[in-house]
Protein backbone atom coordinates (compact mmCIF):
# COMPACT_ATOMS: atom_id res chain seq x y z
CA UNK A 1 0.00 0.00 0.00
CA UNK A 2 1.41 3.42 -0.86
CA UNK A 3 1.89 6.19 1.66
CA UNK A 4 -1.23 8.21 0.78
CA UNK A 5 -3.55 5.21 1.19
CA UNK A 6 -1.80 4.28 4.41
CA UNK A 7 -2.48 7.76 5.77
CA UNK A 8 -6.08 7.66 4.55
CA UNK A 9 -6.83 4.35 6.30
CA UNK A 10 -5.02 5.49 9.45
CA UNK A 11 -7.48 8.41 9.50
CA UNK A 12 -10.44 6.04 9.06
CA UNK A 13 -9.15 3.85 11.91
CA UNK A 14 -8.50 6.80 14.24
CA UNK A 15 -12.05 8.04 13.62
CA UNK A 16 -13.73 4.66 14.19
CA UNK A 17 -14.10 4.76 17.99
CA UNK A 18 -15.89 8.10 17.65
CA UNK A 19 -18.40 6.59 15.22
CA UNK A 20 -19.88 4.50 18.03
CA UNK A 21 -21.25 7.71 19.50
CA UNK A 22 -22.10 9.34 16.18
CA UNK A 23 -24.25 6.52 14.80
CA UNK A 24 -27.02 6.54 17.45
CA UNK A 25 -26.92 10.35 17.41
CA UNK A 26 -27.67 10.29 13.68
CA UNK A 27 -30.46 7.75 14.19
CA UNK A 28 -32.07 9.98 16.81
CA UNK A 29 -31.63 13.05 14.59
CA UNK A 30 -33.39 11.38 11.66
CA UNK A 31 -36.33 10.20 13.74
CA UNK A 32 -36.72 13.52 15.56
CA UNK A 33 -36.41 15.69 12.46
CA UNK A 34 -39.48 13.91 11.07
CA UNK A 35 -41.33 14.27 14.38
CA UNK A 36 -40.49 18.00 14.34
CA UNK A 37 -42.23 18.34 10.98
CA UNK A 38 -39.41 18.21 8.41
CA UNK A 39 -40.01 16.22 5.25
CA UNK A 40 -37.83 13.11 4.84
CA UNK A 41 -36.01 14.80 1.94
CA UNK A 42 -35.31 17.98 3.95
CA UNK A 43 -34.26 15.99 7.01
CA UNK A 44 -31.79 13.96 4.94
CA UNK A 45 -30.43 16.91 2.94
CA UNK A 46 -29.83 18.90 6.12
CA UNK A 47 -27.32 16.18 7.10
CA UNK A 48 -25.22 16.96 4.03
CA UNK A 49 -25.92 20.70 3.59
CA UNK A 50 -25.42 21.76 7.21
CA UNK A 51 -23.56 18.61 8.34
CA UNK A 52 -23.23 19.62 12.01
CA UNK A 53 -25.12 17.43 14.48
CA UNK A 54 -26.15 19.66 17.36
CA UNK A 55 -27.13 22.56 15.08
CA UNK A 56 -29.32 20.17 13.08
CA UNK A 57 -31.16 19.15 16.28
CA UNK A 58 -31.60 22.81 17.21
CA UNK A 59 -32.85 23.68 13.70
CA UNK A 60 -35.37 20.80 13.86
CA UNK A 61 -36.66 22.05 17.22
CA UNK A 62 -37.05 25.59 15.84
CA UNK A 63 -38.90 24.30 12.76
CA UNK A 64 -41.19 22.46 15.19
CA UNK A 65 -41.76 25.77 17.08
CA UNK A 66 -42.41 27.60 13.77
CA UNK A 67 -39.57 30.06 14.40
CA UNK A 68 -38.86 32.49 11.53
CA UNK A 69 -36.24 31.37 9.02
CA UNK A 70 -33.76 34.11 9.85
CA UNK A 71 -33.79 33.17 13.55
CA UNK A 72 -33.13 29.53 12.61
CA UNK A 73 -30.21 30.54 10.37
CA UNK A 74 -28.75 32.80 13.09
CA UNK A 75 -29.10 30.08 15.71
CA UNK A 76 -27.36 27.54 13.45
CA UNK A 77 -24.56 30.11 13.11
CA UNK A 78 -24.25 30.65 16.86
CA UNK A 79 -24.30 26.93 17.65
CA UNK A 80 -21.57 26.31 15.05
CA UNK A 81 -19.34 29.26 16.02
CA UNK A 82 -16.77 26.89 17.51
CA UNK A 83 -15.86 25.72 14.01
CA UNK A 84 -14.01 29.03 13.57
CA UNK A 85 -11.63 27.81 16.28
CA UNK A 86 -11.13 24.44 14.57
CA UNK A 87 -10.48 26.28 11.33
CA UNK A 88 -7.78 28.40 12.97
CA UNK A 89 -6.30 25.34 14.62
CA UNK A 90 -5.88 23.17 11.48
CA UNK A 91 -5.04 26.10 9.14
CA UNK A 92 -1.23 25.96 9.57
CA UNK A 93 -1.19 22.22 8.72
CA UNK A 94 -3.06 22.50 5.43
CA UNK A 95 -1.85 25.93 4.39
CA UNK A 96 0.27 24.50 1.53
CA UNK A 97 -2.62 22.58 -0.11
CA UNK A 98 -4.40 23.73 -3.29
CA UNK A 99 -7.83 25.37 -2.97
CA UNK A 100 -9.95 22.27 -3.83
CA UNK A 101 -8.29 20.30 -1.02
CA UNK A 102 -8.81 23.17 1.44
CA UNK A 103 -12.47 23.39 0.40
CA UNK A 104 -13.15 19.66 0.85
CA UNK A 105 -11.33 19.48 4.18
CA UNK A 106 -13.16 22.59 5.44
CA UNK A 107 -16.49 20.97 4.53
CA UNK A 108 -15.48 17.84 6.48
CA UNK A 109 -14.29 19.82 9.53
CA UNK A 110 -16.70 18.56 12.20
CA UNK A 111 -16.10 18.16 15.96
CA UNK A 112 -15.21 14.50 15.57
CA UNK A 113 -13.02 14.81 12.45
CA UNK A 114 -11.22 17.72 14.09
CA UNK A 115 -10.63 15.76 17.29
CA UNK A 116 -9.05 12.77 15.51
CA UNK A 117 -7.03 14.89 13.07
CA UNK A 118 -5.58 17.41 15.51
CA UNK A 119 -4.43 14.58 17.81
CA UNK A 120 -2.71 13.01 14.81
CA UNK A 121 -0.99 16.29 13.89
CA UNK A 122 0.12 16.93 17.45
CA UNK A 123 1.29 13.42 18.32
CA UNK A 124 2.65 12.03 15.08
CA UNK A 125 3.80 15.33 13.65
CA UNK A 126 3.18 16.76 10.25
CA UNK A 127 3.92 14.54 7.25
CA UNK A 128 3.54 15.18 3.49
CA UNK A 129 0.52 12.82 3.46
CA UNK A 130 -1.27 13.91 6.64
CA UNK A 131 -4.05 15.65 4.70
CA UNK A 132 -5.03 12.13 3.57
CA UNK A 133 -5.44 11.21 7.23
CA UNK A 134 -7.77 14.23 7.65
CA UNK A 135 -9.69 13.16 4.51
CA UNK A 136 -10.08 9.56 5.78
CA UNK A 137 -11.32 10.67 9.19
CA UNK A 138 -13.68 13.23 7.66
CA UNK A 139 -15.12 10.96 4.96
CA UNK A 140 -15.85 8.00 7.24
CA UNK A 141 -17.62 10.36 9.62
CA UNK A 142 -19.58 11.95 6.76
CA UNK A 143 -20.69 8.52 5.49
CA UNK A 144 -21.71 7.38 8.97
CA UNK A 145 -23.73 10.56 9.52
CA UNK A 146 -25.59 10.22 6.19
CA UNK A 147 -26.37 6.52 6.70
CA UNK A 148 -27.46 6.91 10.33
CA UNK A 149 -29.67 9.93 9.48
CA UNK A 150 -31.31 7.95 6.66
CA UNK A 151 -31.93 4.98 8.93
CA UNK A 152 -33.36 7.28 11.60
CA UNK A 153 -35.72 8.87 9.06
CA UNK A 154 -36.79 5.40 7.92
CA UNK A 155 -37.42 4.19 11.49
CA UNK A 156 -38.97 7.51 12.54
CA UNK A 157 -41.60 7.18 9.83
CA UNK A 158 -42.75 3.92 11.47
CA UNK A 159 -43.34 5.52 14.89
CA UNK A 160 -47.02 6.46 15.41
CA UNK A 161 -47.50 10.23 15.34
CA UNK A 162 -49.63 10.05 18.50
CA UNK A 163 -46.46 9.41 20.49
CA UNK A 164 -45.04 12.60 22.04
CA UNK A 165 -41.74 12.02 20.21
CA UNK A 166 -41.13 15.77 19.90
CA UNK A 167 -40.26 15.71 23.61
CA UNK A 168 -37.16 13.66 22.79
CA UNK A 169 -35.54 16.82 21.36
CA UNK A 170 -35.39 18.78 24.63
CA UNK A 171 -34.39 15.50 26.31
CA UNK A 172 -31.47 15.21 23.88
CA UNK A 173 -30.44 18.76 24.75
CA UNK A 174 -30.59 17.92 28.47
CA UNK A 175 -28.26 14.97 27.82
CA UNK A 176 -25.90 17.30 25.94
CA UNK A 177 -25.89 20.07 28.56
CA UNK A 178 -25.61 18.17 31.86
CA UNK A 179 -22.08 16.76 31.30
CA UNK A 180 -20.59 20.22 30.61
CA UNK A 181 -22.02 21.84 33.77
CA UNK A 182 -18.77 21.38 35.68
CA UNK A 183 -17.96 24.81 37.12
CA UNK A 184 -19.79 27.86 38.40
CA UNK A 185 -19.49 30.08 35.29
CA UNK A 186 -20.99 27.36 33.05
CA UNK A 187 -23.80 26.59 35.49
CA UNK A 188 -24.55 30.33 35.77
CA UNK A 189 -24.54 30.62 31.95
CA UNK A 190 -27.04 27.77 31.63
CA UNK A 191 -29.35 29.00 34.42
CA UNK A 192 -29.35 32.61 33.25
CA UNK A 193 -30.00 31.62 29.63
CA UNK A 194 -32.90 29.40 30.74
CA UNK A 195 -34.40 32.14 32.92
CA UNK A 196 -34.10 34.85 30.26
CA UNK A 197 -35.66 32.45 27.72
CA UNK A 198 -38.73 32.11 29.96
CA UNK A 199 -38.98 35.85 30.69
CA UNK A 200 -38.56 36.87 27.04
CA UNK A 201 -40.64 34.05 25.57
CA UNK A 202 -43.41 36.32 24.32
CA UNK A 203 -41.06 38.47 22.21
CA UNK A 204 -41.78 38.20 18.47
CA UNK A 205 -39.71 36.12 16.04
CA UNK A 206 -38.42 34.00 18.92
CA UNK A 207 -35.91 36.76 19.61
CA UNK A 208 -36.09 35.66 23.25
CA UNK A 209 -34.00 32.64 22.31
CA UNK A 210 -31.20 34.76 20.83
CA UNK A 211 -31.28 37.23 23.76
CA UNK A 212 -31.27 34.36 26.27
CA UNK A 213 -28.28 32.70 24.59
CA UNK A 214 -26.37 36.01 24.51
CA UNK A 215 -27.21 36.67 28.18
CA UNK A 216 -25.91 33.23 29.16
CA UNK A 217 -22.69 33.63 27.15
CA UNK A 218 -22.15 37.11 28.59
CA UNK A 219 -22.71 36.07 32.22
CA UNK A 220 -20.51 32.98 31.88
CA UNK A 221 -17.66 34.98 30.32
CA UNK A 222 -18.05 37.76 32.90
CA UNK A 223 -17.87 35.35 35.85
CA UNK A 224 -14.87 33.58 34.37
CA UNK A 225 -12.99 36.84 33.78
CA UNK A 226 -13.72 37.92 37.34
CA UNK A 227 -12.30 34.62 38.57
CA UNK A 228 -9.05 35.00 36.64
CA UNK A 229 -8.71 38.71 35.73
CA UNK A 230 -5.08 38.35 34.65
CA UNK A 231 -6.07 36.23 31.67
CA UNK A 232 -8.92 38.52 30.71
CA UNK A 233 -6.93 40.35 28.05
Amino acid sequence: MNLTMKSFWAGVRAESPLLVGVFPFGLIYGALALAAGLSPAAAQMMSSIVFAGSSQFVAAQLVHDSAPGLVIVLTIGVVNLRHVLYSASVAPYIEHLPAPWKTILAYLLTDEAYAATIIHYEEDGFTPTSHWFFLGAGLVLWTTWQVSSALGIFLGAAIPSSWPLDFALPLTFIAMVMPVLKDKPVIAAALSAGTVALLMFSLPYRLGLILAALAGIFIGTYLENRKSPKEAL
Binding site: V58, P164, F173, V196
Partner: protein, 104 residues
Protein backbone atom coordinates in the same frame (compact mmCIF):
# COMPACT_ATOMS: atom_id res chain seq x y z
CA UNK B 1 -38.66 31.55 4.76
CA UNK B 2 -38.69 28.24 2.95
CA UNK B 3 -36.98 25.37 4.82
CA UNK B 4 -34.63 24.76 1.88
CA UNK B 5 -33.50 28.40 1.90
CA UNK B 6 -32.97 28.16 5.66
CA UNK B 7 -30.84 25.03 5.23
CA UNK B 8 -28.80 26.53 2.39
CA UNK B 9 -28.11 29.74 4.36
CA UNK B 10 -27.37 27.80 7.56
CA UNK B 11 -25.10 25.44 5.61
CA UNK B 12 -23.31 28.32 3.87
CA UNK B 13 -22.78 30.04 7.22
CA UNK B 14 -21.39 26.83 8.77
CA UNK B 15 -19.11 26.18 5.80
CA UNK B 16 -17.96 29.81 5.89
CA UNK B 17 -16.92 29.43 9.51
CA UNK B 18 -15.17 26.13 8.81
CA UNK B 19 -13.11 27.56 5.95
CA UNK B 20 -12.59 31.02 7.51
CA UNK B 21 -9.12 30.64 9.01
CA UNK B 22 -8.04 27.93 6.60
CA UNK B 23 -8.49 30.56 3.92
CA UNK B 24 -7.26 33.55 5.93
CA UNK B 25 -4.30 31.80 7.54
CA UNK B 26 -1.73 34.19 8.99
CA UNK B 27 -3.77 37.31 8.36
CA UNK B 28 -5.92 37.20 11.52
CA UNK B 29 -5.78 36.14 15.17
CA UNK B 30 -8.81 35.14 17.25
CA UNK B 31 -9.06 37.41 20.32
CA UNK B 32 -8.66 35.50 23.62
CA UNK B 33 -11.96 36.92 24.83
CA UNK B 34 -13.83 35.24 21.96
CA UNK B 35 -12.04 31.93 22.57
CA UNK B 36 -13.14 31.93 26.21
CA UNK B 37 -16.70 32.94 25.39
CA UNK B 38 -17.10 29.99 23.01
CA UNK B 39 -17.32 27.31 25.66
CA UNK B 40 -20.45 28.98 27.02
CA UNK B 41 -22.27 28.83 23.68
CA UNK B 42 -23.62 25.24 23.87
CA UNK B 43 -24.92 25.36 27.47
CA UNK B 44 -26.45 28.82 26.89
CA UNK B 45 -28.20 28.04 23.60
CA UNK B 46 -29.41 24.61 24.69
CA UNK B 47 -30.68 25.84 28.08
CA UNK B 48 -32.55 28.63 26.30
CA UNK B 49 -34.36 25.91 24.32
CA UNK B 50 -34.83 23.44 27.19
CA UNK B 51 -36.40 25.90 29.67
CA UNK B 52 -39.48 26.85 27.59
CA UNK B 53 -39.93 23.23 26.44
CA UNK B 54 -40.24 22.13 30.09
CA UNK B 55 -41.82 25.13 31.82
CA UNK B 56 -44.08 26.38 29.01
CA UNK B 57 -45.41 23.33 27.13
CA UNK B 58 -48.48 25.33 26.07
CA UNK B 59 -46.70 28.66 25.60
CA UNK B 60 -47.57 29.88 29.09
CA UNK B 61 -45.71 29.28 32.35
CA UNK B 62 -47.04 26.08 33.96
CA UNK B 63 -45.51 25.15 37.33
CA UNK B 64 -48.34 22.79 38.32
CA UNK B 65 -48.08 19.02 38.82
CA UNK B 66 -50.22 18.53 35.72
CA UNK B 67 -47.27 19.78 33.64
CA UNK B 68 -46.02 16.30 32.77
CA UNK B 69 -43.19 17.59 30.62
CA UNK B 70 -41.69 19.50 33.55
CA UNK B 71 -41.73 16.41 35.79
CA UNK B 72 -40.42 14.09 33.07
CA UNK B 73 -37.75 16.68 32.21
CA UNK B 74 -36.67 16.91 35.85
CA UNK B 75 -36.34 13.12 35.93
CA UNK B 76 -34.24 13.24 32.75
CA UNK B 77 -31.99 15.92 34.26
CA UNK B 78 -31.30 13.64 37.24
CA UNK B 79 -30.61 10.64 34.98
CA UNK B 80 -28.31 12.74 32.76
CA UNK B 81 -26.48 14.01 35.83
CA UNK B 82 -25.98 10.51 37.22
CA UNK B 83 -25.24 8.51 34.07
CA UNK B 84 -23.98 11.10 31.51
CA UNK B 85 -25.56 8.74 28.97
CA UNK B 86 -27.48 10.34 26.10
CA UNK B 87 -29.60 7.35 25.11
CA UNK B 88 -30.51 6.48 28.72
CA UNK B 89 -31.52 10.09 29.37
CA UNK B 90 -33.83 10.19 26.34
CA UNK B 91 -35.36 6.79 27.13
CA UNK B 92 -35.93 7.66 30.81
CA UNK B 93 -37.50 11.03 29.97
CA UNK B 94 -39.78 9.53 27.31
CA UNK B 95 -40.78 6.67 29.62
CA UNK B 96 -41.56 9.15 32.41
CA UNK B 97 -43.72 11.26 30.09
CA UNK B 98 -45.62 8.25 28.70
CA UNK B 99 -46.27 6.86 32.19
CA UNK B 100 -47.48 10.23 33.48
CA UNK B 101 -49.81 10.58 30.49
CA UNK B 102 -51.17 7.05 31.02
CA UNK B 103 -51.82 7.50 34.76
CA UNK B 104 -53.20 11.05 34.80
Amino acid sequence: MNIWVVMLLGGALTFGMRISFIYLFGRFEIPGMVKRALRFVPPAVLSAIIAPALFMPNNTLDLSLSNHRLIAGAAAILIAWWTKNTLLTILAGMAALLILQLIF
